[in-house]
Symmetry: C2
Subunit: 353 residues, 2 copies
């Protein structure tokens, strides 16, 4: 059974890697301060105290539920993940992961090198028993609200068993993050019909269909294949694909959104006479932008490891960091790792390939 709602407001301890991210530790710290103001959880900012402390002191009435945990090293965006983990034991993200392992924190938030976040989580916490490969579950904006896409890049080459496990983990996260009790789960494909798909999708389709049919009550609804177009219509709450396809979906989405907003700006500024008409519409246009903005969604958890790691976009601003902290808090309150363990026990083990 999924974690119950009465745990929602329980205070948690959230470790935040302050040193990753394109905008520097000050921006991360500002995001954590905002998260702390509206929460009774404890926020452990990991990184260089000489940079973090002044930023906290600069804020008017700094919240008391923030502590600084010193870390002297940084894993850079260009660092090779596994090598960096071994060479930099005092890197902020490594120290943060260690806090979770030593039960001094309940979750980790990082907006640094994604590969390093994965390597550090995997090597420090290990995989959940019964999960072969981890997946990054990214919340996406859709017409109906938010959709969870996984894997967004952790495992580029997958077999049907991996996608099957992503479906289980995604359904748990949708319950926790979207509050859906019986989420709809689909597979990204090149057509809705069962006969469509590449070899991987066809085999995964059969596996999921049979498994969900074999248990009663099923913990989620398997809705079959989902076309790229229908992801953003909210046809399913969770869409499953390999990490290569997931990355292509995310980046294509970003690219098209960027193109349309650029062309919109171009067309609307093509004549000077348009300006007085556009100015009153600016709040509506800004609201449009915020409805498709990554920062609203608040980071993506790495699922399948024995710990909670919320990975944010490298260019996250303070607002995105605040939202990532909230996502970490919720995942910890709902004890998502344990719920995934239970879901694995409930579901039938797929036959070996």
């Amino acid at each position: 059974m999924p974690a119950q709602n009465q745990d929602h407001k329980q205070p948690m301890r959230i470790a935040i890697d302050a040193m990753g991210g394109d905008r520097g530790p000050q921006e991360v710290t500002r995001g954590v301060i905002d998260a702390a103001r509206n929460s009774n959880s404890l926020f452990l900012i990991v990184g260089d105290p000489d940079v973090i402390r002044p930023e906290i002191e600069r804020s008017s009435s700094p919240p008391r539920n923030i502590e600084i945990v010193p870390a002297s090293q940084i894993i850079e965006m260009c660092d090779e993940p596994v090598a960096a983990f071994k060479k930099k034991p005092d890197a902020s993200v490594v120290v943060g992961a260690r806090l979770v392992k030593e039960h001094k924190a309940d979750a980790l938030v990082t907006i640094g090198n994604t590969g390093a976040a994965m390597a550090v989580s995997l090597l420090t916490w290990g995989r959940i028993k019964g999960i072969d490969r981890p997946a990054i579950a990214t919340p996406l904006p859709a017409l109906t609200g938010t959709v969870i896409l996984l894997d967004a890049g952790a495992t580029p080459d997958c077999d049907p068993n991996n996608l099957y496990e992503f479906a289980l983990m995604g359904s748990v996260y949708a319950e926790c993050f979207l509050g859906k009790k019986y989420p709809k789960v689909g597979i990204v494909s090149n057509g809705e019909e069962e006969s469509k798909g590449n070899q991987l999708v066809k085999r995964t389709h059969a596996l999921l269909k049979n498994s969900v049919a074999s248990i009663n009550p099923a913990p989620f609804e398997f809705t079959g294949n989902i076309e790229g177009k229908d992801i953003f219509r909210g046809t399913a709450d969770v869409v499953v694909c390999d990490g290569f396809v997931g990355n292509v979906v995310l980046k294509t989405g970003e690219g098209v959104a960027e193109m349309i907003l650029t062309l919109l700006k171009e067309e609307l500024s093509s004549h000077a006479w348009m300006k007085p008409f556009i100015l009153p519409l600016m709040p509506a246009l800004r609201k449009l932008r915020s409805r498709i903005d990554y920062a609203e969604c608040g980071g993506a958890p790495l699922l399948g490891v024995n710990g909670i790691c919320i990975i944010g976009h490298g260019r996250s601003n303070a607002y995105a960091v605040t939202n990532a902290c909230k996502a970490a808090e919720r995942a910890a309150q709902q004890n998502i790792v344990n719920t995934i363990r239970q879901r694995i026990c409930e579901m039938p083990t797929p036959p070996p390939e």
Copy 2:
């Protein structure tokens, strides 16, 4: 060497399958009439004369360069492609393909069942020698103009050799369709770096890099890996991927565009006072829509077969059909099939896997 520009205005004979498409043969006929008015080519409309003739006669001063070729059967959207080809020898798309095979037409245009268009082309014309799998080359709108994506759905499961051939064929089509003499060709991947990609992309990357480096002058520039985001920035003229990923890119693009335009409409009509400000901006908003509209691009050729087949979207309107006819005319004038044959001879044969 690619076909030379002096052939551009040579009259061609274009066969059009009138009976496919969601809007019916009248809409297709209207599109062909418009294409015929501005061309010295001959347009052979294949289908039910009792439906097509009245539509031609209804138009003011019908162009003389249109002929009707009767066909008594139709391959429906739901028909299984290969079975339909065998059972319906007098289907409009089959008759059209036969006209090309018998040298009575130089190209075929269809907006019907895509799978059937592929099966009929393959079974009637055969594959070009040296090409293992066909690919659909779809023109996409980008910030810099048009980008050719292939494969958009013909071959969902590919090996590196298939993608290598797609790169050769795509480079030829970019020369013909975009007029680029030394097009930039990239592979869709989950990161720009050479080390990124799934197994298929990594092996294709090595194959293309070595092959292009081994001939001088190379017929195209290999730009390496392209992220989903950069497709729409026009970083490359041709982007290569398997048919599964290509379909996901296309449909995700459509889905995000639809979502943004829906949200834009929602936000801009959320208050009645906005209306007088929006009305004068409508032409600019319509222009934005046309800049990202599939209908502007004019259909996608099936490359790798011994004939020219331009496949349009099932919901093509007359305008899209006109553009597909123009694309067919240009591909025929440039003798694209022959140019692909020459390109295969020029390029080194990849070593067996």
